[in-house]
C-alpha cells in the first residue's frame, strides 16, 4: 500500500505529466477554456489512462516485444473509442464542446509514454497507481488553467457569473495566446517553488 501512494504522488507534482514532462499539452491548452470542459477531459483521460495501464500491465508477459507498440495502440484506442461513444450518448453537450479532442486522447502522449515506460514493466497495482497519479496530476493542471481562463475570459466559474455585470471578458484569455502565456507562467512558478524548496 505504501508503494501505491508513492507511485500515485509521483505523478501529482514531482513528475507531473504536463508541467514537468511536457507531454499531453495539446488537450490541456485546447479545452481549458471552461472549467466544466476541463473536468470532463480530466475524467476521460483518467479513465483511458487507468484502464489501458491496467490491461497493458496484465498482458505484459503475454505480449511479444516486437509487437508491443501496435498492441498498446489497439488497447488505448479501444478505451478511447469507448469514452467517445459513451460521452456522445450520455453527455452530448460536453462531447460537442470538446469535439475532436476526445478522439485525440488516443494520441495523448501521456498515455503512450506511461504504457511504454511504466505499465509494461510493473505489476498491475503499481501501474494503476501510476496511472491514477498521472491522470489526477493532469486534471489538476488543466483545471488550474481552466479556472483562470474562464474567470478572466468570461467572468464566470462553471458558467456562474462571479464578477458584476459591467465586467468585460478578456479576449486574450479565451484565445490561444492566453493559453500559452498561462502555461508558461505555471511552469515558471513550479520551477521557482521547486528550486526554493531545495534551498
Amino acid at each position: 500500500m505504501r508503494e501505491f501512494w508513492y507511485y500515485f504522488k509521483n505523478g501529482l507534482l514531482g513528475e507531473n505529466p504536463v508541467l514537468k514532462l511536457m507531454i499531453g499539452l495539446c488537450s490541456v491548452l485546447a479545452v481549458s477554456v471552461r472549467v466544466d470542459n476541463c473536468l470532463g477531459m480530466g475524467a476521460a483521460v483518467i479513465f483511458v489512462l487507468t484502464c489501458s495501464s491496467l490491461v497493458i500491465s496484465l498482458i505484459r508477459n503475454f505480449v511479444p516485444n516486437e509487437v508491443r507498440i501496435p498492441i498498446f495502440i489497439v488497447v488505448i484506442s479501444t478505451f478511447t473509442t469507448i469514452v467517445d461513444l459513451v460521452m456522445k450518448a450520455y453527455l452530448p453537450p460536453l462531447s460537442k464542446a470538446m469535439g475532436i479532442f476526445i478522439p485525440l486522447i488516443v494520441v495523448n502522449c501521456i498515455i503512450m509514454a506511461r504504457a511504454e515506460a511504466f505499465a509494461s514493466r510493473k505489476p498491475p497495482l503499481h501501474a494503476v497507481a501510476d496511472a491514477l497519479g498521472m491522470g489526477v496530476g493532469y486534471t489538476l493542471v488543466i483545471t488550474a488553467i481552466g479556472v483562470v481562463r474562464e474567470l478572466f475570459g468570461y467572468g464566470e466559474i462553471l458558467s456562474h457569473p462571479v464578477f458584476p455585470e459591467s465586467f468585460q471578458g478578456m479576449m486574450a484569455m479565451i484565445l490561444p495566446p492566453g493559453a500559452f502565456l498561462l502555461i508558461g507562467i505555471y511552469i515558471a512558478i513550479l520551477n521557482w517553488s521547486l528550486r526554493r524548496g531545495k534551498r
Binding site: P64, I82, L85, V86
Partner: protein, 186 residues
C-alpha cells in the same frame, strides 16, 4: 517459426477482444446517440418556435428555386403545425461569418408574418467578440420582428460591438428567409 506464431497469436487475441468490446459498446450506445441527436434537434426547434406542436421535415424544393451563394445556403426546412393547422416554418441555414459558416435555425410564424426565434447551432466566430451573436442578448431582438422589416444594421438591428461581419451573417440569414417566404427569393 514458433516466434511468428506467438506474435500472430498475441495480435489476434488482443484485436479480437478489442473488436468484441467495441462492438458491444457500440450496440449499447447506438440508439442512445441517435435519440440524443433527435431530442437535441426537437429542443432547438421548440426554442425557435415556442408553442409549435409538431415539426415535420419539409421539402425545400417546394419553395421553388432557392437563393444560393457563397455566403448563404438553405440547408433544411421544417413545417410547424399546431392541432393540425399549418403555423409556420423553421429553416436551418448556413451564413458565412468571420471564421466560417454560422449554422442557424430561424423560426417564422407565417400566420402572423413574424420571426419567432433564432438559434445558433454551430459557429467558429472569434470567442468573446463574434461568438456573442450566439447569445440571448443579440438574438432576442429578432423576436416578433415582421417579415417586412428592412433589417438595417444600426437602425432595426443592434449590431454586436466589434463583430460587424458576424452580425451581418445573422442578418443575411433573416433577410433571405424573409424574402423566400414573401415569394421574392430568386
Amino acid at each position: 517459426m514458433t516466434k511468428i506464431l506467438r506474435v500472430a497469436l498475441a495480435l489476434t487475441v488482443v484485436c479480437g477482444v478489442a473488436a468484441l468490446a467495441l462492438s458491444f459498446v457500440y450496440v449499447v450506445t447506438k440508439e442512445r446517440i441517435a435519440e440524443e441527436a433527435k431530442r437535441e434537434l426537437n429542443e432547438a426547434l421548440a426554442v425557435v418556435f415556442p408553442g409549435g406542436e409538431n415539426f415535420a421535415p419539409f421539402d425545400l424544393a417546394s419553395f421553388g428555386p432557392l437563393p444560393e451563394s457563397k455566403e448563404f445556403k438553405f440547408l433544411e426546412a421544417y413545417a410547424v403545425t399546431k392541432s393540425g393547422k399549418q403555423q409556420g416554418f423553421v429553416f436551418k441555414v448556413a451564413s458565412t461569418g468571420y471564421g466560417g459558416p454560422i449554422v442557424l435555425l430561424v423560426g417564422v410564424d407565417t400566420e402572423k408574418g413574424v420571426f419567432t426565434g433564432i438559434k445558433v447551432l454551430e459557429h467558429q466566430e472569434t470567442p468573446g467578440l463574434g461568438s456573442n451573436v450566439a447569445g440571448e442578448g443579440f438574438l432576442s431582438q429578432f423576436l416578433g420582428k415582421p417579415l417586412t422589416d428592412s433589417f438595417t444594421i444600426g437602425k432595426d438591428v443592434q449590431a454586436v460591438s466589434g463583430a460587424t461581419i458576424s452580425t451581418r451573417a445573422v442578418v443575411r440569414a433573416c433577410v433571405n428567409v424573409a424574402e423566400l417566404l414573401r415569394g421574392e427569393g430568386k
